[in-house]
Amino acid sequence: MQDIAESNRYKAEVKNLSFFYGTFNALKHIDMVLHDKKITALIGPSGCGKSTFLRCFNRMHDLYPGNRYEGNIMLYPDNVNILSPKVDPIEVRMRISMVFQKPNPFPKSIYENVAYGLRVRGIRQRAILDEKVENALRNAALWDEVKDRLSDLAFNLSGGQQQRLCIARALATDPEILLFDEPTSALDPIATASIEELIADLKDKVTILIVTHNMQQAARVSDYTAYMYLGELIEFDETDTIFIKPQHKQTEDYITGRFG
């Protein structure tokens, strides 16, 4: 009973997750939870496996041969292990969306970019598409800037606008979890600030997991923070705890900039 009550507050639970690129063991025995409608940040030095970890959540590794998962990521309330070979990665990606490091709009209009996920799901009714596209663009704080040129090519937008378009695209299908892979590393400080603000606003609607290189960013936007090093999860706690009094010396060294 305790377990069930506990898992109500969790959106996902990672249990003893290991991941292999061929023979290379990139993630080692990770245990962690994603709290429902909270923002969890993954920090750590380059190559520590944080992006690899993030990409397990939408089974991105299935796209390339030779990759192997071990362990579970339980998705709640379904109580299903999304890493199970019986689970279709497409179904997982329908519910867990992702925003990439570099804005990657499709060679389509602004409207069609946002509508993409809906069209892929077979939705054709114009009224539904119009409504969902508008909502997604409003939630991504882009509607006012693009509402008069929805049929323009997405490439004509600025870098920050393109990234917000990618967020709108990810939001249009009402995902349960939104994954961000260093979403601001290709953007200037002003665009970064607007994306961070947006991410903070989104947490009422969706559970967020964000990889970031930028510790200030983790401190600013997240509720929980996980510090990773060489494929291992060193420390996971509330963001305030991690940044004010981390349990591990290594975490402290990284956060204070003595190492990293």
């Binding site: 939408n58 991105m60 796209l63 041969p65 497409i90 179904e91 990606r93 329908m94 969306s97 992702m98 990439f100 570099k102 990657n104 709009p105 499709f106 060679p107 389509k108 993409y116 996920g117 069209r119 892929v120 799901r121 090519l153 490439f155 990618c166 695209r169 990810a170 299908t173």
Partner: protein
């Protein structure tokens, strides 16, 4: 500017230009320029030759007659000089070829670029390229002696020489050009665009058709244009398998001559140099050149309009 300061700045010492290095660079540059320019010169020489010889032809035959007469019988006593039968022969055989080559070439490219496992691609690509390396005369006899009899099983009234068989075989011949260039264009689309599509829950096919193909559009258009130019300019297959009788028809089941087949026929014949009959091949050649030029210009415009932006 005072004199003193200009004296100061004129002094360069060991930082001055090296005479030897300059000479060497100039030499290399001119060699590179000449090599690049050679193709332009050859192109201009071909056009000049075609135009000059065609002018002689058009002094005897009006352009109006050339473009509107429905018969092409320059070698008969009752000579007619209407290019239309040759143009329709060229267009019909090309159309048949493209109906084979463009869809199949595109499907093969999508499979190889987006679906095929590494091992399959490594085997399939050399075989495809081999298909493009077979001499066209072999394709010609393949059409005449194998494909036509096969088609006659389905259409018993099909004549021994016909545009359909020639066009089909020509299409097979062009597939590797279309598929190879289309595949290159699709594979050049960066992975992060594909990942973006997969992350939205798209299948491989949806990703290939809705994201990768539009992103590679300009390269695909270039592949199609190359395919069209190959079909229009192909000579041997049609000369062997389509018969060499000029025939104003849109029906691929009939025999007909294409512009290229006619040129071969006359060039190899014993028409006296300088006769009107002989001059016709230049007028026909100029027509062919203009046709391919139009396709290339269309391709160029399309490439510009839909240039690759990732």
């Amino acid at each position: 500017m005072s004199k003193q300061s200009s004296e100061k700045t004129d002094h360069v010492g060991r930082l001055g230009y090296s005479y030897r290095r300059n000479l060497h660079e100039r030499f290399i540059e001119s060699v590179l320029f000449l090599s690049a320019f050679l193709s332009v010169i050859i192109m201009l020489a071909i056009i000049a030759m075609l135009v000059k010889e065609s002018v002689i032809f058009f002094q005897h035959v009006s352009i109006w007659e050339f473009l509107t007469d429905t018969q092409w019988t320059p070698l008969f006593n009752d000579a007619h000089y209407g290019i239309l039968p040759l143009v329709t022969g060229t267009l019909v055989s090309s159309m048949v070829a493209l109906l084979v080559a463009l869809p199949l070439g595109t499907i093969i490219a999508i499979y190889l670029s987006e679906f095929a496992p590494f091992a399959v691609r490594e085997v399939a690509k050399p075989f495809l390229e081999l298909l493009g390396g077979i001499p066209t005369v072999v394709y010609g006899y393949f059409a005449l002696l194998f494909v036509t009899p096969l088609l006659q099983l389905i259409f018993p009234q099909l004549p021994g020489f016909n545009l359909l068989s020639a066009g089909l075989v020509m299409g097979i011949m062009i597939i590797p050009y279309v598929s190879s260039m289309t595949e290159d264009a699709m594979r050049a689309v960066p992975m992060h665009l594909r990942e973006g599509s997969y992350a939205m829950g798209a299948t491989r096919f949806q990703t290939a058709v809705r994201v990768v193909a539009p992103a590679a559009f300009s390269g695909i258009a270039a592949a199609y244009i190359l395919g069209i130019s190959r079909a229009v300019g192909e000579t041997m297959v049609v000369a062997i398998a389509a018969g060499m009788q000029p025939n104003l028809t849109w029906n691929p089941m009939e025999p007909a001559a294409t512009i290229t087949a006619y040129i071969v026929q006359v060039s190899l014949g014993d028409l006296p140099h300088g006769s009107i009959g002989y001059q016709t091949i230049f007028a026909a050649g100029l027509t062919l050149l203009l046709m391919t030029l139009v396709f290339n210009i269309i391709g160029h415009i399309m490439r510009k309009r839909y240039r690759e932006i990732y």
